[in-house]
Symmetry: C2
Subunit: 443 residues, 2 copies
């Protein structure tokens, strides 16, 4: 097969991912040409310091002027792996206004400026693809957008941040403390020097926003995602979960709530990121270290799971080049692929509207009637109990007892009201922890 | 969003899957219209007996004349869920020659007549999609064709037949005999009255051919797949695997073999379906009952896994409707999507070229030197041993000893030659079994 057409590709960013993209474009040039229908010619790579050599990138292609690169009218495809919100957004808008299609790996940018960028893509009849922004090399966005498009997704549930999953795996398997594991992860390069975006759940929240928008054909932005990270989890929390047969994972969850027929409270979606206890027997429990996995639950398809490496230069480059080939085919065919679909316009509801199960750990004064009083508060609040486990307090000289209360499916707002009432209860000395439980038999 | 365009859809077949397709098309009509960009109007369903009512299908749409249905020039999309090779192939050729795009769930047809049908699609500028033909609702073909298209796939390994996985799960977990489990599976509707296609591996082989063709951008037909089913597996085989920490699964494997640089023996692909021992710790080991799972190993992406329900009316209908929406979008855009890609033209090599690990069970005469003689045969044949386990033969009055020999990675032809030499060896009374071992640390 001889491919005579050629398409020009420019890249913004030349770090770990960019180097791998350039390397694979060179090494697999013939295959990519045959699959895309045109040779892909890298014509420029914008970096901060163009004088510093980069692995796999021809030095002659380096430039420190990204604005000039995206202003070229002869560039067909711009790959964005520079990250950040500004000036990245402006550069991509400029690229599209000059007729270039865009392939991005920038989850934060898509989760905050997605609607604006998609509008620009539509106005300029170009593509905006970003498979690499969520779960690295795992094909996830295209399956949601195209394969499951004939179905009704009810729920997306997954582990989408490798750094926190690495930390939680080590805490679970080695009994190590959070600070120690984080320090080790930083030493190994699994965590950034400033780990905030990962450990506070912001990275996962951006991915959750993107997944939710695609799954529910609605517009979901980062600030609509309820987000709680793992930095407040102690080894005690992990150990308690382990003893009860669970493992703690940072989950991203997007789901339909409310009455689809328009009765009862307003229907919509809740999108949330938080640590949760997952039963050891659940497939997500065995997703270890920096791996990612996402469950999609749809009306007709049932549960479908996607699993793989969620980050790293090579997996991310694989996802980017898949998009580049797709975009190249669209350009050769003379029209962009299917764009953003947000026709459903579902409302993003507050976390209070979520429904899940909870484990509440309390310290109570060990005296007659304490357990009954606690149980009564749950009953009054309309939260049904699955189990109550008492720990300690039966020995001589121990005046307090630990209680772990596990609920059936309950409304988040109801549960919060119960916790507030528990705090005010004489019998309760302390609420030691509240953690959600996902992946159970009734979910 | 108001959708004014409309596309006409005809369906061949109105059984379990067809009924679900019709039901979902009706129930989700507004969503499908918004996503496709046109209302999808079901205009006819060809069945054998049009007088018999079908769940979810308007009786007025039924016809017993499929040839007349596919000859309609006003039909945009033909859904094929009737199965079989003839007259199905001719009907689809007729549909395409009248300008209809085709969505099929027919793995046997695609695996045998794929090149001819794809050529017809290309000649008539229509689409031929068949996501539902492999692994039900699990998005697999589109991710291979589009998401991983910028990468180099090395290996596809999976459980793609639900009937056999159900049988093997019951044999493993309940210690039941093959015949008993098969009878129960037939009673529950998991196995056909004539189970040959499933238990002899033919259904899995058709799926393996389709996956291999897509993964390696080459033409692979059903008759090029080496195929061995599960009907000869005994409870002893399953129990022996369990004792050694393995579970037996029917696997479909497609992989690159040989020297990519053109040195050594001819490079190509081997595509095979056979039972194999999988370590309990491998993710495929926990794929139970009628579930399917497929691993794809690519150069840059690493290992990616897809998991879900591999059969059933609703999951299959979900996959079909995903394709219908994709085809509808292509028709509205005025051009078909990317077609077959077989530019790489890799040779499908015989099973002898495969490389994997093996477990060989033998009965030897329990006398000095027997083990040494057996080990020497492996050494002479160039097959390196991982472990040798002796069972029995140490008690008084037991003249024979059981040996289980596990090999390191070895060439299939070498292993077969070793087995033939073992058969001729005085010390060997019987070769009780040879089974491949997949999913190990060196694979």
């Amino acid at each position: 097969m001889t491919v005579t057409d050629s398409l020009k590709v420019a890249m913004l960013g030349g770090g770990v991912v960019g180097s791998q993209v350039a390397r694979l474009m060179a090494e697999n040039a013939d295959d990519l040409a045959a699959r895309a229908g045109a040779r892909l010619e890298l014509v420029g790579v914008a970096v901060r310091d163009a004088s510093r050599p980069r692995d796999g990138i021809d030095g002659a292609l380096l430039t420190d002027d990204p604005a000039a690169l995206v202003a070229r009218d002869d560039v067909d495809i711009v790959i964005e792996v520079m990250g950040g919100l500004e000036p990245t957004a402006d550069l991509l808008l400029a690229a599209m206004s000059h007729g270039s299609s865009v392939v991005s790996a920038n989850k934060a940018l898509i989760a905050t400026e997605g609607p604006m960028l998609h509008a620009a893509a539509e106005n300029n009849s170009v593509d905006l693809y970003y498979e690499a922004a969520v779960a690295g090399a795992i094909p996830l966005l295209r399956p949601l957008r195209e394969s499951l498009v004939g179905d009704r997704v009810r729920r997306v549930l997954g582990i989408v941040n490798g750094t926190t999953n690495y930390i939680l795996t080590k805490m679970d398997e080695e009994g190590a403390a959070y600070d120690d594991v984080l320090a080790e992860a930083q030493r190994l390069g699994y965590a950034e020097a400033d780990p905030t975006a990962d450990v506070e759940g912001l990275d996962a929240a951006a991915k959750a926003a993107i997944l939710a928008g695609l799954a529910f054909h609605s517009s979901v932005s980062l600030d609509q995602v309820s987000c709680e990270g793992i930095s407040r989890l102690s080894q005690d929390d992990i150990a308690a979960a382990r003893e009860a047969g669970f493992v703690v994972k940072l989950l991203a969850v997007a789901e339909l709530v409310g009455d689809a027929d328009g009765e009862g409270p307003e229907a919509g979606i809740v999108v949330r990121v938080h640590p949760a206890m997952v039963p050891r027997s659940h497939p997500l429990a065995s997703v270890r270290d920096a791996y990612n996995a996402v469950f999609v639950e749809a009306e007709a398809a049932g549960q479908v799971m996607f699993y793989g490496r969620g980050a790293g230069g090579e997996p991310t480059a694989s996802a980017i080049l898949g998009d580049v080939v797709a975009v190249a085919r669209n350009r050769l065919a003379g029209r962009p692929g299917p764009g953003r679909s947000d026709y459903a316009g579902l409302t993003v509801l507050p976390l209070g509207r979520a429904t899940t199960r909870y484990a509440v750990s309390l310290v109570v004064h060990d005296r007659p009637g304490a357990l009954a009083a606690v149980a009564q508060v749950f009953a009054d609040g309309g939260v049904s109990l699955q189990s109550v486990r008492q720990e300690g307090g039966l020995e001589e000289g121990v005046p307090d007892a630990g209680l772990v209360v596990r609920t059936h499916l309950a409304n988040e707002a109801d549960l919060r009201a119960v916790v507030e009432r528990l705090r005010a209860l004489d019998e309760v000395k302390e609420i030691a922890g509240v953690i959600r439980v996902e992946g159970g038999p009734d979910l």
